[in-house]
């Protein structure tokens, strides 16, 4: 670079430079990420779609004249969509309203997705941050434990748990959450290790912060970006896991239902009414699709590698 432009820059009157500086507004990491996110149409569309789906599943049942367990005694068989009887998507083979059941199944899927992921989030972040920050023996012990857990086919254990303790709704959240925290803890640990020796942590320690307060005040907020991305990708896995259990008949208990259970029922009756299979399959796949796109979008927006 030649010297000329630099000197000319320096000659800019002082007041002008100050004015310009005042115009430039600082952008936080989150604002930056949000801007990048908005530019990603697929991710934004997915986010909107998910919000719409969730609202419809939780608010929709108030407007459907049937409940998910109510049997229409006049029908008692699968009927095609019938607006006069107010079965807008028809009924299943027992004469229960398809729309009401689909919405209820959606509620279960979303709830499992969010609650089980929260369980995984809490355990994973705590273990990961502790292992990474404290280091030494604690780190060794926790990470060997995670290694052992990784080697175990945990799906089999979830099924054993469901068999042993009965098909309890809350147990399912816990069991799935206990399985999904492993990767989360590894990711958080890795991030914490890089943060541990940064100056601001040293400053916090020098000013007398305890280990707990440093982890909560400084480490966790800084790993949040990566954690959010991973959470968005964990939710669809959890929803899939629940549907898988319900499909095998080991998930939620009848008459409650979930998309997986509806798919299993639909698969039994697909010869006569393909609708009962295709409707829940479309709902489940759309939700999983959207979560995956949203996760990919968030990763692009928050990943420090591509910045």
């Amino acid at each position: 670079m030649s010297d000329a432009p630099v000197t000319s820059n320096l000659r800019v009157p002082h007041s002008d430079a100050l004015d310009k500086a005042a115009d430039v507004e600082g952008r936080s990491l989150w604002q930056d990420a949000f801007r990048r996110m908005q530019a990603n149409r697929a991710a934004m569309a997915s986010a909107i779609m998910l919000i719409v789906l969730a609202v419809v599943c939780f608010v929709g049942p108030l407007f459907v004249p049937w409940t998910y367990e109510e049997i229409d005694w006049d029908l008692l068989e699968a009927t095609p969509p019938n607006f006069e009887l107010k079965h807008y998507l028809g009924t299943d083979s027992l004469g229960r309203d398809m729309l009401a059941r689909l919405l209820q199944g959606g509620q279960v899927s979303f709830m499992v997705g969010i609650l089980a992921t929260s369980v995984a989030l809490v355990i994973g972040v705590t273990v990961g941050a502790m292992a990474g920050f404290i280091g030494g023996r604690v780190d060794q012990f926790l990470m060997r434990f995670v290694d052992v857990m990784y080697a175990v086919p945990l799906m089999f254990f979830i099924i054993i748990l469901m068999v042993v303790f009965g098909r309890n709704f809350y147990l399912m959240f816990l069991a799935i959450g206990f399985v999904e925290w492993l990767t989360m803890s590894r990711i958080v640990r890795g991030q914490t290790l890089t943060l541990r020796n940064k100056e601001f942590i040293e400053a916090a320690r020098a000013s007398g912060g305890s280990t707990t307060s440093i982890i909560i005040r400084h480490i966790i907020p800084n790993v949040l970006g990566v954690v959010i991305v991973y959470v968005t990708l964990t939710i669809p896995q959890v929803i899939l896991l629940e549907s898988f259990l319900s499909f095998l008949g080991l998930g939620v208990q009848a008459p409650m239902t979930s998309w997986g259970a509806l798919i299993a029922e639909g698969a039994q009756e697909m010869e006569i009414t393909p609708r009962t299979l295709i409707l829940p399959a479309v709902c489940l796949s759309t939700t999983l699709f959207c979560f995956n796109f949203l996760g990919d979008g968030l990763r692009d927006a928050l990943d420090p590698k591509d910045r």
């Binding site: 290694d147 898988f244 095998l248 798919i263 796949s285 999983l288």
Partner: protein
């Protein structure tokens, strides 16, 4: 290398022991036993049944007995399939599951890797976008949805045409009976492997040594095949370890949908019938498979990547 190998095997043994112990005591915690029926059995018969299966012994004795049996390859008698031992049931079911798994893995390698490589070499072309959309669909639509849909299309809608395929049963391993289950099992793998191959090959093609190879005038084809490909396969090989877990859980689904007599279906049936010994047997088998295949993958890893050295 040998030290590493020995250490891994030494870690595998306690891991397996933990799996066995946890599974054993979880099963014994269960309220209700395998002989509970709608009409309760008279207490004398119940006592006899329990004595026959050794369930009247103290728990620690049952546990030691079970461990001793395992060491001799004896998984105990099945509680529900009378006249069968769990070892016999696994012996019948395992070959079916293995054959399907190997067929699905072969399909994955034959389709997934070329698909991903093609997408990487034509990055951001419409072919790339099309391939990756298909891959995303394969990942997102679970195989318990694909299975019934395939059965619906090939078993019912195309019933009268030449494309009709059987949608259930094993029929002693007839070729037509295997097509749909294997495709259904392989689809998510193909999708994952294609995505991993693409990402990894794109990254490898940007490395300095690939640029060097191109700069010295090698044709692009040679650069890809001789230089980039082996390195790009490392993440794919790494994925094959966890893939065995997917294979095992996938087999639960496809064997249930297509009524195949494999260990996945035995496991699900066993779980629904509270056939404890059968469930435990399959779990232990699955855990050993996962542990040893992971070890195998790690060793393959060292062979592929000269930077990886185990001490």
């Amino acid at each position: 290398m040998w030290a590493y190998f020995t250490r891994r095997v030494l870690i595998a043994i306690p891991t397996l022991w933990v799996v066995i112990t946890v599974a054993f005591f979880l099963m014994r915690l269960a309220p209700g036993g395998p002989f509970d029926q709608e009409a309760p059995l008279p207490p004398e018969i119940m006592a006899n049944l329990k004595a026959a299966y050794g369930l009247d012994q103290p728990l620690w004795w049952q546990y030691l007995n079970y461990l001793g049996g395992l060491l001799q390859g004896d998984f105990g008698p099945s509680f529900k399939y009378k006249d069968f031992t769990v070892t016999e049931l696994i012996g019948q079911g395992f070959p079916v599951s293995i054959q399907n798994g190997v067929a699905a893995l072969t399909l994955t390698i034959l389709i997934g890797i070329p698909l991903g490589a093609m997408a990487a070499l034509r990055q951001n072309s419409s072919a790339d976008h099309a391939a990756m959309t298909v891959a995303m669909t394969g990942i997102v639509i679970p195989n318990f949805v694909v299975g019934p849909l395939l059965a619906l299309v090939f078993g019912i809608w195309l019933k009268e045409t030449v494309f009709a395929l059987p949608v259930g049963g094993w029929n002693n391993g007839a070729f037509e009976n295997r097509i749909l289950p294997v495709i259904c099992l392989a689809l998510p793998f193909i999708a994952y492997v294609a995505r991993i191959t693409r990402a990894s090959l794109i990254e490898t093609l940007r490395t300095n040594y690939v640029r060097t190879a191109r700069a010295k005038g090698l044709p692009f084809r040679m650069v890809v095949l001789r230089h980039a490909f082996k390195t790009a396969m490392i993440p794919v090989v790494t994925y094959l370890g966890p893939a065995t877990v997917f294979l095992l859980t996938g087999s639960m689904v496809i064997e249930t949908i297509f009524s195949l007599p494999g260990i996945g279906r035995y496991f699900v049936q066993g779980a629904l019938n509270r056939d404890y010994t059968l469930v435990m047997g399959v779990t232990i088998l699955a855990a050993s498979l996962v542990i040893f295949l992971n070890l195998f993958v790690d060793l393959a890893y060292a062979w592929l990547d000269p930077k990886v050295r185990y001490e």
